[in-house]
């Protein structure tokens, strides 16, 4: 079961790399914000899997909980900032 979690997190890491292509080179700021949001959601899942792999899930579940909150707040702040005219 540990090997399955390891391979799952490896696949998720490759998907994060694929999203990073859109995050770095995507046209415009809005595409980059969407890519960062997607990467944040994947990182949360990778953190939970990593806690199961190295047997410290009691610590890692709190870290991923905080990461969810920070990801949501960051995306919301960027969206509210971009809503105003001439903010970029």
């Amino acid at each position: 079961m540990n090997d399955f979690f390891l391979w799952t997190s490896i696949i998720l890491g490759l998907l994060v790399l694929a999203c990073l292509y859109r995050g770095v080179g995507g046209p415009g700021f809005l595409n980059r914000i969407v890519a960062v949001n997607v990467i944040g959601t994947k990182i949360v899942v990778i953190l939970a899997l990593m806690g199961f792999i190295i047997d410290r899930i009691d610590m890692f579940v709190d870290i991923s909980l905080v990461y969810v909150l920070l990801n949501f707040l960051g995306t919301l702040a960027a969206a509210k900032y971009l809503e105003r005219k001439g903010a970029i």
Partner: protein, 112 residues
């Protein structure tokens, strides 16, 4: 039995993550990409974290995992809606079949 259920849920979640990433990379427009990622990522995270909670059994850790699931289910569509509203307010035009090359014009419109 519990392991089989957990593996099944995590595999479904990975499939949804992969399809969301494919949509983010391949679809032509900003709105289309948001449409792909906003739904696939939410359900993918739900399935993978639910699989981990099933594997853990009933304890404080699985309750925290379920809390993460509930928060993602509330927060991710809200964030997607906020970004879409920002794009709409700034008059980013959606892609149609007539518009020749969406990425270049959209980039210019974003940088204005």
């Amino acid at each position: 039995m519990v392991d089989v259920l957990s593996v099944l849920l995590i595999a479904c979640g990975i499939f949804l993550f992969a399809s969301g990433t494919l949509g983010l990379l391949r679809l032509p427009d900003f709105y289309c990409r948001m449409h792909a990622t906003g739904k696939c990522d939410t359900l993918g995270a739900l399935l993978v974290l639910l699989g981990l909670a099933v594997y853990q059994g009933f304890s404080l850790i699985s309750v925290k995992l379920l809390f993460i699931v509930v928060f993602i289910f509330l927060a991710n569509p809200t964030a997607t809606h906020a970004i879409g509203r920002a794009a709409f307010v700034r008059r980013v035009r959606p892609w149609t079949k007539d518009s020749p090359e969406p990425p270049a014009s959209e980039a210019e419109e974003d940088l204005k």
